[in-house]
Structure formats: structure tokens, C-alpha cells
């Protein structure tokens, strides 16, 4: 199913923190993103201490949790909207959220509600077994990440990757960057030598030019913080603004 996001060409993948400012708004934002050209949507389940995130997404997590969002509330939301959203959806959250829910129970709920994959930034290759086994059993892809520091680990990770590969554009945490200086070509070349599954670049992409450039190097671009900033600014009124932004980004990616 995830594959379908990459079949029409380059994919634009927006990231949305669920429950910021509330789950009704998230529902509208997801629909707007879908209608404006998103090819796959990453839904963030907030975590109290998101160690891979920069300040923008950290604050979104804090706001959403303060407003009472829970894992169950997010599953319910997915269930409500899934029929209308005809592109793959993946969760992005932290290991403890899944572990605490019960990895088997969590991935079963994913299948029931129509979630196609899970991204867990604090589960590296060495620790994935406990999660990938139940993911496979329940038919959910556990997405692998590859970083600029991965070097010799790239082929090992790529060979076992499922769904798509999340290529981390640069060192550090999520958040906008003026420029992305990592030489991604050799990383993506190595990935392609080892697997046929698509790879998308994320971290630090905030404008159409960057998105187009990253997508041209790979199979797609992932954008998080730039969207969360719009949500932070407009709150409940943000869906249409996010829609506009997604359209500009998706158009740039699709033309790249």
C-alpha cells in the first residue's frame, strides 16, 4: 500500500502532529493535505519527551498532550476519516508510546483503522526485532531511517527495509534549515544498490525549492516543522492555510 504513494512520480509527504490544537482540527488538516496533493501523510502521535525533535515539533507535542490527546483518541480519528483519505497513512511516534500500548495490540489497531506503516525514530536497526515481528504479523510496515552518519550501515538497513526508507537529510533534530549540505547522492545510490523500495528525504525542508531539490535526488520529500509552524500560528483556523502550503509544496515536488 505504501508503494502506491510513489507510483505516480515523486511523493510529497507532510507530517502533522495529531491533537494540535485539537483532534477535530487534525481531522480537517489531514483532509486538506490529501485534497491538495499529499501522496502519503505522516501522523505524529505526541510524546512527552520527543528526543529527535527540534523546538517546533516539541511544542506541538506539548500543546497536544496538554489538550488531552491520547493514542486511543488518535486511532478513533483515523477510523473516522480513513474512508475519505485515499492515500497511505503512517504513524510517527516514539518507541514508548507503542511499547506501552503493547506492540502487538498497537499494530493490530493500525491494521483495523487503516494505518500502513510506523516510524519510530528511537528504534535503530539493532533494536527493531521486537517491533518488526509484530508489524509483519499484523501487516504494517516498520519504516527504517538512514542518516548522514550511517555509512557502512546503509546496506544492512536498506536490505531489510519495508515500505519506504526515511533518509535523514542532515545531523541534528527536526526543524527548518537554511540549507541542506549533506551530499545525499552517495547515500541514496547505496540504498538503491540494496533495495527497490522508495526513499524519501526529510529533516529541514521548509520551502518548495528545497522540497523539489530533495525529491529530485530521491523519491520524495517529507516536511514537518514548516507545517507545524502554520498550525501553531493559526490554530483551529489552520486547515486552509496548511492546504495552501501543501499545494505549493506538492506541486513543486511533482514537477521535480
Amino acid at each position: 500500500m505504501i508503494k502506491s504513494a510513489f507510483e505516480k512520480g515523486k511523493a510529497f509527504i507532510p507530517f502533522i502532529t495529531c491533537g494540535d490544537p485539537d483532534i477535530e482540527t487534525t481531522e480537517k488538516i489531514v483532509k486538506e493535505a490529501y485534497l491538495n496533493g499529499a501522496d502519503l501523510i505522516e501522523l505524529g502521535i505526541p510524546f512527552s519527551d520527543p528526543t529527535a525533535e527540534g523546538p517546533v515539533i516539541q511544542s506541538a507535542n506539548t500543546r497536544a498532550l496538554k489538550n488531552g490527546i491520547t493514542t486511543d483518541g488518535i486511532f478513533d480519528m483515523v477510523e473516522r476519516i480513513r474512508g475519505d483519505i485515499k492515500i497511505p497513512l503512517v504513524f510517527m511516534t516514539y518507541a514508548n508510546v507503542v511499547y506501552s500500548y503493547g506492540a502487538d495490540r498497537f499494530t493490530k489497531r493500525c491494521t483495523e483503522t487503516g494505518i500502513d506503516g510506523i516510524i519510530l525514530p528511537d528504534i535503530p536497526f539493532e533494536e527493531k526485532g521486537e517491533f518488526s515481528s509484530v508489524c509483519e504479523k499484523n501487516g504494517v510496515d516498520l519504516i527504517s531511517l538512514i542518516a548522514p552518519t550511517s555509512e557502512k550501515r546503509i546496506s544492512m538497513i536498506a536490505k531489510e527495509a519495508k515500505g519506504f526508507i526515511y533518509v535523514v537529510s542532515s545531523l541534528g533534530v527536526t526543524g527548518e534549515r537554511k540549507s541542506i549540505d549533506t551530499d545525499l547522492k552517495p547515500i541514496i545510490d547505496t540504498i538503491r544498490e540494496n533495495t527497490d523500495i522508495p526513499c524519501a528525504v526529510g529533516f529541514g525542508i521548509s520551502n518548495p525549492e528545497q522540497a523539489a531539490k530533495m525529491a529530485s535526488l530521491s523519491d520524495g520529500a517529507i516536511v514537518g516543522s514548516a507545517i507545524i509552524k502554520i498550525m501553531e500560528k493559526y490554530g483551529k483556523d489552520s486547515p486552509s492555510y496548511v492546504g495552501e502550503f501543501v499545494k505549493a509544496m506538492a506541486d513543486a515536488v511533482h514537477e521535480s
Binding site: F47, S48, D49, T51, A52, G54, P55, Q58, T62, L65, T70, T71, D72, Y94, A95, N96, V97, V98, Y99, S100, Y101, P121, D122, I123, P124, F125, E126, E127, G129, E130, S133, L145, I146, A147, P148, T149, S150, E151, R153, I157, V168, L171, G172, V173
Partner: protein
């Protein structure tokens, strides 16, 4: 099932972003290469002896023993180390290792400021750059230590996210490490985080239990009946326990910060109130809600105000080798004052948690039994906070 590296039973592991994986692998390789290297060992031994002032004394607390009327009480005086706590043992080891690895910059998290001060000290000594992350709450609680770190040439970054305490400082140090790996070593201060940190920190702190054993055999001709230490992440406790793990007659007791009591939310007693989870690079016990959100824990002691516990402690708990007991703010403050009055030793408020538990159990023990309490640090840093707790406002104006 789970990964094999750095496991203590089910606990431990390496739950970190891919960006950091090669850094921890490189660290492990370097540690394995240097830990038995005669030159490295000699260098570290000299530093511990001539710079940090080891061995630290094992002091017979005669007045306390007489006053409590039960077990003989010995105090392992980590408070007498240079920089005022056990933290220096680990920091000198890690800084030396980082230097051998060609790193020029140390980053660290700190709660009470003791680990930050120790790291800043080692950085000054070894000519390295140093940045310490400290929760904004803790920079308020421990102003003196913030000043000490700056005086030693370090930058102190107040962390405002989350609860503004130790856990947030750890998160921010981890984030900083993913930003800058090449020249930077993350000098983690406790037996926690991803492998190999729990092993490295334990090994560098194990000097405490080796010395206790040697000294008590010299003084008493036998092993103690109990070794008691406070536990946040658990480095001084692991150091105090490690050499005794095989000696089954020695009871190992870790004292957790219960804050205002383990029946409420204002507590940091992980073993007593937490459950299994994955956070800060490790699988272990954590205080958390039903959806796995990490709890905003509380303790009067900034150094124990942490929602998790090192994976080896979690394992010692699982197998019943060590016991973890809760000690409240009130009990710790009473012990802080008691040890000051009775022995003329002002313990760190962290260490006072261990003293408090000894005060509970010593009177019930035979007069020929022996308790060793690790006084992990000295309490000068805490005087203003304890005065506030007692309703007195100390200011130097």
C-alpha cells in the same frame, strides 16, 4: 527478540536515533580498546589518586551508631572527593577516553549540578570545550553549581522544555549530540542511556565498592551486612553495589526519591511506582502514564528527580538481588540535618535519602551487624534549598 547489546536481563539496549548509532559503536570500541590498556589505566589511576583524592575514606560513624543503638554504621566518604561528589570518578574516566578518541568537546546533562561541575572540571583540566545542559528549574535550585561550572570555563544552557529538570537536560544533551558528533563526546553522568554508557559508567564507579570491600575487610575482617546508597539514575549506587553483587550475604539497598510520597504524583520513585518502558536510549522502569507518556516526576533533590532508573538496577530488582526503597523529602531533610548535627558531615540531599533509610533500619539490627552508607556527595550546594524548606530565606546580600 530484542537486540543483544548491553542487556541486563530484558533491560538496557540501544534505543537511539540512527544518527547516533555509529557514535555509540565507536565509543564502545574505544572503551574496549582502552579499558585494559596499561597506559590508560595508569593515567586514570594517577588522576583519581592525585587529582580527585582517592581512595575516599570509609569512616566509622561512632556517634550515629551509638545514637541509633543498632548496627555499626560506616560512611563511604565520596563527599570528600574533589568537586564534592562521586561524579568525578566517572567523568575523569570518560574525559580521558574522549581525549584518546580525539574528541575536543564534552557535553553533559546535570540535575543537581554535581555531574556538570565534575565534567566542567575535567574539561578545564584536559583543555576541552564544555557545554552543560541543566533544567531551568534546577538552575534555580542549584545556583551555586551553575556559577561553579561557569567559573570552570563551561557554558551552561538552561533547558526550558518539559518540566525543566534532569530528564529534559538529558533529552537536550542527546539532541545536541545528534547535531555535533565529530568532535563531541557526550559525557553521560549515570548508569543509564544507551549501551555502552551503563557499562562504562558502572565500571568507572565500581571503584567505590572495591574500596569499601578492601577497607571493611581491613577494619572489621568481614563483609558488611548491608550497603545503602541513593538512586536516581543510579551511578553511585551501582558503584557501591558492583563488587558485592556476588557476595550474597551483603544486602544491597537503593533509596529512591519518593518526593511527597509514593501514593501521589509528586514522586520520583521509579521502581516503586513505574513500569517497563523505553526511553532515553534504554529499556528499563519508568514513571509514566497509561499511554506511555513520561511522568513529570518530583523530588526535593534535583539529582534524583528523574523518571527512570539505570537498566542494571532494574535487573538487580527483577532478580531480587537488590532492594529499592522509597524515601520522602521529609525523611531526607531530617536525615540531612541529623547527619550534620550528629557527625558534623553535611551530606548532599541526594545522599541524605540513603542516610534516612539507614536511620530506619539500623536500630532494628544487631549491634555486631554492619551497614555501609555511601555519602555520594557533600551538601553545601543544598543549604539554601533546605533552609527554604524549613521556611528560612538565605540570601547573601
Amino acid at each position: 527478540m530484542a537486540g543483544n547489546k548491553g542487556r541486563f536481563g530484558e533491560h538496557g539496549g540501544q534505543y537511539i536515533p540512527e544518527t547516533l548509532m555509529n557514535a555509540v559503536i565507536e565509543l564502545e570500541e574505544a572503551y574496549m580498546r582502552f579499558k585494559d590498556d596499561p597506559e590508560f589505566k595508569a593515567e586514570l589511576d594517577t588522576l583519581l589518586k592525585e587529582y580527585a583524592g582517592r581512595p575516599s575514606g570509609l569512616y566509622f560513624a561512632k556517634k550515629m551508631t551509638e545514637d541509633l543503638g543498632g548496627a555499626k554504621i560506616y560512611l563511604k566518604r565520596e563527599d570528600l572527593n574533589h568537586t564534592g561528589s562521586h561524579k568525578i570518578n566517572n567523568v575523569l574516566g570518560q574525559a580521558l577516553l574522549a581525549k584518546k578518541m580525539g574528541k575536543t568537546r564534552l557535553i553533559a546533562e546535570t540535575g543537581a549540578g554535581q555531574h556538570g561541575v565534575a565534567t566542567a572540571t575535567a574539561a578545564a583540566l584536559m583543555g576541552m570545550e564544555c557545554v552543560v545542559f541543566m533544567g531551568v528549574e534546577d538552575t534555580e535550585r542549584q545556583k551555586l553549581n551553575v556559577y561553579r561550572m561557569k567559573l570552570l570555563g563551561s557554558e551552561v544552557i538552561p533547558v526550558k522544555t518539559g518540566t525543566g529538570t534532569l530528564k529534559d537536560a538529558v533529552s537536550e544533551a542527546m539532541r545536541e549530540w545528534t547535531r555535533r558528533i565529530d568532535d563531541t563526546h557526550y559525557c553521560l553522568g549515570s548508569v543509564m542511556g544507551p549501551h555502552p554508557f551503563p557499562m562504562i559508567v558502572r565500571d568507572f564507579q565500581a571503584v567505590i565498592s572495591r574500596e569499601i570491600k578492601e577497607e571493611i575487610l581491613k577494619k572489621e575482617g568481614r563483609l558488611p551486612d548491608a550497603v545503602i546508597a541513593c538512586v536516581g539514575g543510579g551511578s553511585n549506587a551501582m558503584g557501591s553495589f558492583y563488587d558485592f553483587i556476588g557476595d550474597k550475604t551483603v544486602k544491597l539497598i537503593g533509596c529512591e526519591a519518593a518526593g511527597r510520597g509514593i501514593d501521589g504524583f509528586e514522586t520520583a520513585a521509579t521502581i516503586n511506582t513505574g513500569r517497563m518502558g523505553i526511553f532515553h536510549g534504554m529499556k528499563s522502569y519508568f514513571c509514566q502514564d497509561e499511554f506511555g507518556q513520561i511522568a513529570p516526576v518530583y523530588s526535593i533533590s534535583a539529582g534524583l528527580d528523574y523518571p527512570g532508573i539505570g537498566p542494571e538496577h532494574a535487573y538487580l530488582h527483577d532478580i531480587g538481588r537488590a532492594e529499592y526503597v522509597p524515601v520522602t523529602d521529609d525523611e531526607a531533610v531530617n536525615a540531612f540535618e541529623y547527619l550534620s548535627r550528629t557527625e558534623g558531615i553535611i551530606p548532599a540531599i541526594e545522599s541524605a535519602h540513603a542516610v534516612a533509610h539507614a536511620m530506619k533500619i539500623a536500630p532494628k539490627m544487631d549491634k555486631d551487624s554492619i551497614i555501609v552508607i555511601t555519602v555520594s556527595g557533600r551538601g553545601d550546594k543544598d543549604c539554601a534549598a533546605i533552609a527554604r524548606y524549613r521556611g528560612e530565606d538565605l540570601r547573601e546580600e
